[in-house]
Amino acid sequence: MKQDGRFGEFGGFYVPEVLIPALEELEEAFLRFTADAGFNGELQNLLKNYAGRPTPLYFAKRLSELAGFKIYLKREDLLHGGAHKMNNTLGQGLLAKYMGKKKLIAETGAGQHGLATAMVGALFGMETKIFMGETDIERQSVNVHKMKLCGAEVIGVEGGTGTLKDAINDALRYWTANVSDTFYLFGSAAGPHPYPVIVKHFQSCIGTEARQQCIEQTGRLPDMVAACVGGGSNAIGIFSAFLKDKDVQIVGVEAGGSAKDRLAAGHHAATLAAGKVGILHGSKTYLLQNDDGQIAETESISAGLDYPGVGPEHSFLKDTGRVKYVPAFDEDALDAFELLTKTEGILPALESSHAIAYVMSLKGKLSPATSVIVNLSGRGDKDVGIVEKYRPVK
């Protein structure tokens, strides 16, 4: 490897020996092509004309009136595919194409990364396999259907709790046996180096745009930036542009599970709030685990946040104190979903609803001049069935 893939003590590439040559090949290609004008030109064109970048930064006036301070939404929900995931799948998909790979595999939790990979697989004419936990297949069936319509094969994963962690396990196993012709299109800012670096690179357009749009619209930087954190790809995407702006407070919001369980082990996915450092999926990072180091089960209403690990850079940002990480409960996310829908006519993904929930919890605590950007990482169409189950429309 050319780089060590470390964020302080976190990160690295703790993988079986057989995967090392594949990661080296990936790192080499990433460094080469992202410095290549032809590659970057093709990607910029796709981001603009295929995916719909730049996405708007929207001043949510009615929501702001309720909160008592100014809330701006970075509208990644409007990106093609319905979430920020397309930024990364176009980037990595193009990388796969430039590397001459013919097959794509990906893991998915909520199905947004799986869908964005399936779309890119169709776009580039590549055979695509999506690994998805059985629990997630059941609760995100609309996305499963969309992936299949795009021509992808969806492979159900039975192990563990049938969620994102288990999907990553099986995708890694499949890749181990098929490294020569298959590109593993990793969706989260987690996993072994170089994935956290690659995902951050392709997602950083969110933050770059948001920072500039905020200055254009308000004449200054925001006071706070908030995003939900599962593995942490949308969060690192928007945070990255503001890390050096010392006056901008940055908050990552994790899945606290149901409020009644009070962050009891096995009943939430607030890795940075309740975890300790360990090694999973190729990376040294905070993890939810027992004393021996067995990885804990997790629970969240939102499949995309239901993960016992977190991207290594988030662990670093927690320890350095640059970013504050807080949990939001399922019930608060549902409240936020309903609130944004009713006040602004925007259906947020349940993942993004966690970030909205945290920001709304600051009601009455911030001055009216305060401006907050929330990364609205995805749209909530996929979650309507879940919301209906918990909060039936009268």
């Binding site: 020996e17 090392i20 563990g160 962690k165 004393d291 180091g293 990885i295």
Partner: protein
């Protein structure tokens, strides 16, 4: 405590190395299984501590991990288990596990405790030679041999790098993939073993996918110093969970057959 060096010097043929997940399906049965394997002719034991997320393992060993964890296996019980095996017979033991289990206990303490219990070497499935510095010095200090895996896609430079950090034996992975029972043996295995033997004087033991006595014989003929059989053995346990007597006799019969095949191969 018998070392790999002593054992390989003594044997005039390749070593037979069965793999078991400690505590599969439960502590007591697992103990009986391993003792029976020793009686049937195992030369070295490769023992795994079960992990919740074994990314280098196929479905058979994943299920064994689930059974063992459901049966209450822990790191401290694994220590007891190894002590009991060593009381039964002084047989070299290689420990195969995932890094997080070592990391949580503390690398130095983990190695010291397991060496004292009777383990000869540690192999961490998700730690490559690139991070050998994190574990190898502590392992040597504790008295352990350091076993690393080498795979068919490694170039000559990498093989040499791996060999330089390895003591005891090199674990040669026969194929690109995870552990599992397979019908045929990889057709590149013979060339791979010969290449390794040319590049290192450290004994070469071959594992992954070796599922039949014929496979064991072929690997032995190709020049391997040891044959590691994992998933096929774990599968015999899985297939006979409701009949312990049959499980033990099938296991013993399979190990005996493999041993004969290896002996005849040279």
């Amino acid at each position: 405590m018998k070392t790999y060096k002593e054992l390989f010097a003594q044997l005039k043929r390749p070593a037979l190395i069965p793999f078991f997940v400690i505590g599969d399906p439960d502590y007591e049965t697992s103990l009986e299984i391993v003792k029976r394997a020793i009686d049937a002719g195992a030369d070295i034991l490769e023992l795994g501590i079960p992990f919740s997320d074994p990314i280098a393992d196929g479905p058979t060993i994943q299920k064994a991990d689930v059974r063992a964890l459901a049966g209450g296996m822990t790191v401290s019980k694994a220590l007891d288990f190894i002590r009991q095996i060593k009381q039964y017979k002084d047989i070299p033991i290689g420990l195969l596990l995932y890094y997080n289990l070592v990391y949580q206990k503390g690398i130095k303490e983990f190695f010291k405790d397991f060496y004292r219990a009777g383990v000869n070497s540690i192999l961490i499935a998700d730690l490559s030679i690139d991070d050998a510095d994190e574990i190898a010095p502590a392992a040597r200090e504790a008295g352990l041999d350091t076993v690393f895996m080498v795979t068919p896609n490694a170039d000559e430079q990498r093989i040499k790098q791996i060999a330089s950090q390895t003591s005891g034996f090199i674990y040669a992975v026969s194929l690109l993939g995870v552990t599992g029972v397979r019908e045929g043996l990889s057709d590149t295995i013979e060339g791979f073993i010969k290449k390794l033997k040319k590049l290192t004087a450290t004994p070469v033991c071959v594992g992954f996918g070796i599922s039949k006595p014929e496979h064991a014989a072929a690997v032995a003929r190709a020049g391997a110093d040891g044959v590691i059989i994992g998933s096929k053995i774990v599968r015999i346990i899985e297939d006979n969970l409701n009949n312990k007597k049959k499980m033990l006799s099938e296991l013993a019969a399979f190990i005996t057959e493999c041993k004969k095949a290896i002996e005849k191969a040279r």
